[in-house]
């Protein structure tokens, strides 16, 4: 890992070691290659440590009894260097997380919201992906442009009228003042979150599926049609099964996006209670606002909340990588 051992073998005079090594890096191809490799491992280790250290910190806090956290002394036992390490092994914190507040209900809400949104998104995006990927019609480019543009607008630009409508106030034609109808009061229900989530996360899935559906050879669809399937039958029986990786990608990314969403999740449930369909965000924030000094519980709750996505990343990282790059670069 370190570069100094390699310099030791060549240098005989003390003090000239580093200068000697630098000279050899510049002139000797072999030494240079080894130097580059060492540099590479140092950089890789650096990135691994910086990305994973915060999770280590969560474990340290969760396992340390709260009184020891508040004492605040993180120096290591023998050497005395200040470095965070678990001061105890208080697994009880992971049980307490579910006892103080019904944390499992918040996580359950998140799962329901993410699953229902994913199903909606897959259905709508499949139809749209089929249309954009396989049909030629006037207005195709313009429509795709609108879909793309809408997906980048800030949620804050949608919030005020949506909140107004979800409270049960009338939908009014903009600028004309004509009241159309009012929808039932849906704040504190899953629908107040599923609808904005679907709109926000649809475009990415549409672009992923457009690419996949567009790549299926026309011959396969034609063969299915000759067999007597309808156009939609061909979509469901031929195109969608052949695009299974694309569907999996869209599903994983939508699920993760909904599970991670903060803006509407924290605003559409008026109180942070599971009965109001407050998801994970509400559960974690409850610890922050109600149990302001139970740092070990905040950390334990975060670990519980993060586990599902970590598992998803480990299992489906190929899909995530290809989906993210396709959505942006559309290769």
């Amino acid at each position: 890992m370190s570069v100094t051992p390699q310099s030791g073998s060549g240098s005989t005079e003390s003090g000239g070691g580093i200068a000697n090594y630098v000279r050899r890096v510049i002139h000797d191809e072999d030494v240079r290659e080894r130097f580059y490799r060492a540099l590479f491992y140092v950089a890789a280790a650096f990135f691994l440590i910086t990305t994973l250290f915060p999770f280590y910190w969560l474990f340290v806090l969760a396992l340390t009894p709260n009184s020891d956290i508040l004492a605040g002394d993180w120096s290591l036992p023998v050497i005395g260097i200040d470095f965070p390490h678990p001061k105890g092994f208080n697994v009880q914190a992971f049980v307490e997380v579910f006892q103080q507040i019904p944390f499992h209900l918040y996580v359950f809400n998140s799962f329901v919201l993410a699953t229902v949104t994913t199903i909606f998104v897959l259905i709508i995006a499949s139809l749209a992906g089929y249309v954009f990927g396989r049909l030629e019609f006037p207005g195709r480019g313009a429509l795709m442009l609108i879909v793309l543009a809408i997906s980048y607008f800030p949620p804050a630009a949608f919030l005020i009228p949506l909140f107004d409508a979800f409270l049960g106030n009338a939908i009014v034609v903009p600028f004309l003042g004509i009241e159309l109808f009012s929808i039932p009061r849906i704040v504190n229900t899953p629908w107040s979150m599923i609808t904005p989530f679907s709109a926000l996360f649809l475009p990415l899935s549409i672009f992923i599926l457009t690419t996949f559906y567009g790549q299926i050879p026309d011959g396969l669809e034609d063969a299915a049609r000759v067999e007597g399937t309808t156009r939609l039958g061909a979509l469901v029986r031929v195109i969608m099964p052949l695009s299974a990786p694309g569907l999996a990608t869209a599903a994983v990314l939508t699920f993760i996006s909904v599970y991670n969403e903060y803006f509407f999740s924290s605003l559409m449930a008026l109180e942070n209670t599971p009965g109001n369909w407050s998801p994970l965000v509400g559960g974690i924030l409850s610890y922050q606002t109600q149990y302001t000094t139970s740092f070990n519980l905040m950390a334990a709750a975060s670990i519980v909340g993060v586990l599902p996505v970590v598992l998803l990343v480990v299992v489906a990282q190929e899909r995530i990588v290809s989906g993210l790059t396709q959505g942006a670069l559309k290769e």
Binding site: L135, Y152, F153, A157, F158, A199, G233, V321
Partner: protein, 338 residues
């Protein structure tokens, strides 16, 4: 939708409503069929995006709902008040929209004070600073991921994980790390004057720094993946040619890697700008919206009491983001992918 379902059935010789709908669907022209299938998409986008966007603009032209009587038309007053500072008193806490700008003879002639109180400056500064560091670190990560070695899969998973975790947990992590009584970072950094020693999370400059670091930690992975895709689309033969020609590694990077990865890099930067400009959750969970006042934060803080003003802020936010979005659209239009 019920009409679409029937399309899944195999056509039979039976007659009945199902068969008639199927036959009708099959005989539609391509354009009509296309628009028919797009109905669900168009419905949800107009209900959840188009309608609110227009309504937000309408709200921003009227007095605040919760003042006495029905809202009155005030034209662009809210926008004027925002940019002249007249609306500052209605924003939460001591937040202003623009910083105090004074012009005098002293270098650098234009002086801005209270930039960490200004919602507009905080949002732009946050976006530029975090995207700048994400680009550099993301490039480094992408170069690491571009190599073949044992365990590459695990390195990649480790780098992606921060991107995939919920914003609220990202917030709690940095809240706990910098909390004066729970965290260790304050003890480490406060002696050097990098963050405030007491009340760290409610100190505007410290909180801004912490939130920027938090964002860099989480979203660099996204940058790295986009740059990696750019790197992997480079033809490897180019490097062989360069080696034969005697190019050094730096020259290979300078004349092959960098120029060829530039288009992907540009798109990645614009994407991240769009994301960073709408920051809200991280601020709300690490600190408070009045300590680090991003534009989205101000919309949320004021929309229950000053609907007209809040809508105006929301629309300004959308307009700023629209500039970055048009950059993305132009880039992709140029590449012919739309």
């Amino acid at each position: 939708m019920s009409g679409d379902e029937t399309g899944f059935e195999r056509e039979t010789r039976r007659s009945g409503p199902l068969v008639r709908v199927t036959r009708w669907l099959e005989n539609l022209g391509e354009t009509t069929f296309a628009y028919l299938l797009l109905i669900p998409l168009l419905l949800i986008l107009s209900a959840i995006a188009l309608y609110p966007l227009l309504r937000t603009f309408e709200f921003s032209l009227f007095t605040d709902w919760f003042s006495q009587g029905p809202p009155e038309f005030v034209g662009i007053d809210h926008y004027v008040n925002l940019f002249t500072g007249a609306a500052d008193s209605q924003l939460a806490g001591s937040v202003t929209f623009l910083p105090d700008i004074t012009v005098n003879g002293e270098f650098p002639f234009v002086h801005a004070a209270g930039i960490y109180r200004s919602a507009l400056v905080v949002t732009l500064l946050f976006a530029f600073v975090s995207v700048f560091f994400e680009t550099i670190i993301g490039f480094g990560q992408a170069l690491i991921l571009d190599k073949e070695y044992r365990g590459r899969r695990w390195v990649r998973a480790a780098i992606i994980i921060p991107w995939a975790i919920p914003v609220v947990i990202q917030g709690i992590i940095f809240f706990l790390m910098f909390h004066p009584s729970a965290g260790f970072m304050t003890d480490w950094l406060a002696p050097y004057g990098i963050v405030a020693a007491r009340n760290t999370l409610n100190d505007p400059t410290s909180a801004f720094l912490i939130i920027t670091i938090g964002d860099i930690w989480k979203t660099t992975a996204f940058m790295a993946l986009l740059i990696l895709a750019g790197l992997q689309s480079i033809d490897r033969n180019l490097y062989d040619v360069a080696k034969v020609a005697g190019a050094t590694r730096w020259q290979q990077f300078r004349y092959i890697t960098f120029p060829l990865v530039l288009p992907a890099l540009g798109i990645a930067i614009l994407f991240r700008m769009v994301g960073a400009l709408r920051v809200y959750g991280l601020i709300d969970s690490v600190s408070t919206c009045t300590t680090v006042p991003s534009l989205s934060c101000m919309v949320v803080e004021t929309f229950n009491t000053h609907r007209g003003l809040s809508s105006a802020i929301a629309f300004v936010t959308a307009a700023i983001i629209a500039i970055a979005v048009s950059g993305i659209i132009y880039q992709q239009y140029k590449e012919g992918s739309i």
